[in-house]
Symmetry: C2
Subunit: 258 residues, 2 copies
Amino acid sequence: MSATRPEGYDPYAFEPFAVTVDLAVFTVRESRLHVLLVERGQEPYRGAWALPGGFLLPRESAETAARRELAEETGLTEQTAADLHLEQLRTYSEPDRDPRMRVVSVAYTALVPDLPEPRGGGDAAHARWMPLPSAAPPPAFGRGDPPLASLAFDHDRILADAHERIGAKLEYTCLATAFCPRQFTLGELQQVYETVWGVELDRPNFRRKVLATPGFVEAVEGEPRRTGGRGKPAALYRAGAASALHPPLLRPEGRHQT
Amino acid sequence: MSATRPEGYDPYAFEPFAVTVDLAVFTVRESRLHVLLVERGQEPYRGAWALPGGFLLPRESAETAARRELAEETGLTEQTAADLHLEQLRTYSEPDRDPRMRVVSVAYTALVPDLPEPRGGGDAAHARWMPLPSAAPPPAFGRGDPPLASLAFDHDRILADAHERIGAKLEYTCLATAFCPRQFTLGELQQVYETVWGVELDRPNFRRKVLATPGFVEAVEGEPRRTGGRGKPAALYRAGAASALHPPLLRPEGRHQT
DNA sequence: TCAAAAGTGTTGATCCTACACCCATGA
DNA sequence: TCATGGGTGTAGGATCAACACTTTTGA
């Protein structure tokens, strides 16, 4: 894809690349951030946990492949999975990241509401939601932190990058609602922030901030109410049309560091 | 790269993918944002302008390939090019983005100071700095805007994505300094913001904001001074160690929109 | 002496934080 | 009636935009 390609370039002359997608699928349950992992049934890394993923089909874009894998691994229909938040993270291409052959992987991050236990559509028999350490993720833009766990391939690194990214994106986008069910209370939305960031937020201020941002959430008309346990029932909201937060909702530590 | 790979997977059984890197190299000169383009010498899109780029060598990561291409196209030594800002943008993998074969491209964004005219190291005989329309780029998170120009392949889209990304990143990172030479004045730094965003900023406030952010810039000791034309000579600074801006430096329009 | 760019000061508006306080519900 | 979570109010501090003003240079 360049002016520098030699005239008679033959794609078969090079060692072929395989292209895969890997998914970091996050959810919030029981005030913990969880990621969807699958247990590998074969070498290499047999028995190790890995991010779900798979090869691109011959006429599939990475986006399409990621959406397909997401549906497969969560056990949802493609129809339902089409509504889930999915975004490209970055591409990993170190030559030896897979010991067998040259594999370039396009990693995606998905945010889903608390779903029923994954029942794989065949392949993903050993899929599980794994809680992440509840410590706050490293502040954005710092690399080189140690891996969180010990996953197959370079999936520790991918997971750490994804974790860091969503923490940063909560600051200046509305995507926290992607973790919530169709209708949710402001308390539930606040829990998402507190869980992902690992901090406590002031409820009155959080409420004002969210409601003051046009398009972040919309009140649900018929005033049904609902409770998270006991206490006063809360008003219900659904996600609004906005995607960016202006001005951003900064992490409390954010304002005291470099 | 997944538990779903069949046991006897043969990479040669699939149509092979080619993997390339494409570079959106930006610079600021004469108060205009410029991008480095090359003229294609062969079909398809012969005679059209395209982003520089090329194939991954067999044992090269995308990052390494991008760094190598950056050095080649700018005519700098690899040594010098190693200091330039280079970051992954995203990966483009639509099946028909190249009419000849299946090509997956990892796009990178590079920010460079105002360099001498590119004298390609052989391949890039027809490289040129092209000014971008001086209108402000679309605010972050809005997609689906019309392409800026008419480049080969899907390079319009890549360029638009890169343009949008750097506009957004100036808000919450320190990377505006990547556009400046080793030593620069605050006036030059402000010009970078004004050029990329297409707005005018208040000089006193800009100055205070930059100096109040620890690690953004460092005063150069021996008080040499320098002028941008006429007027009072300005103090010189160099880039600091910080990479993130907390709190961010928001675009003026940013605070009045959704 | 004038234009142009650097740099300092000030003021009023706005935003944010940290609270205090009341409301509605289940046990 | 008490504990729990939802929701409103408010005062002080920090931040910021706007603009006036001084300084230093080249022409």
